[in-house]
Amino acid sequence: GDQVEQSPSALSLHEGTDSALRCNFTTTMRSVQWFRQNSRGSLISLFYLASGTKENGRLKSAFDSKERRYSTLHIRDAQLEDSGTYFCAAEAGGGSGNKLIFGTGTLLSVKP
């Protein structure tokens, strides 16, 4: 079935540094969402993209508009409060319907 491959599975950053997470899709996807799961387990939506890029503060996400088979989440000037688990999720649409297919998550740890 359709798969979402997320990398890296874990990431350790020092405060103030930049990094990126990536999700590859085994098939063309219609849209992608990025989430952060907080300490209580809630999935907080960071971005929803059907194409192009979106930016919110120090976070920026892009969805490959050409082949629609990967997405990235860039973190600029990482802060301690960015620590948590990040998930991408993609919707294939069409015959695969509107369910989200999740990646396996990236555990981000930001250190002083």
Binding site: G41, S42, A89, F102, G105
Partner: protein, 113 residues
Amino acid sequence: NAGVIQTPRHKVTGKGQEATLWCEPISGHSAVFWYRQTIVQGLEFLTYFRNQAPIDDSGMPKERFSAQMPNQSHSTLKIQSTQPQDSAVYLCASSLALGAEQFFGPGTRLTVL
């Protein structure tokens, strides 16, 4: 806007008992989704509704699991004869329309002893 509401937040059942989980979607949202999260399987899709009608239940275990949406303000996920392997966090999400951004509730942590 209170967001997606799920009750209870935690539920502990004994093996063989029934568990009913409740979800209230965001007002005005026409699509409701159920997912579950475990350490082993990660986040996986269960089922979804549009305008209260079941659309896709391909992720639901074939036995013991059922979901309903009797009205636009709530959906239920029922697990009969619960088993330890049903232990998971069950998440409900809603979206304004199919294909739109999904917003998640806080989840119900089900523990089957």
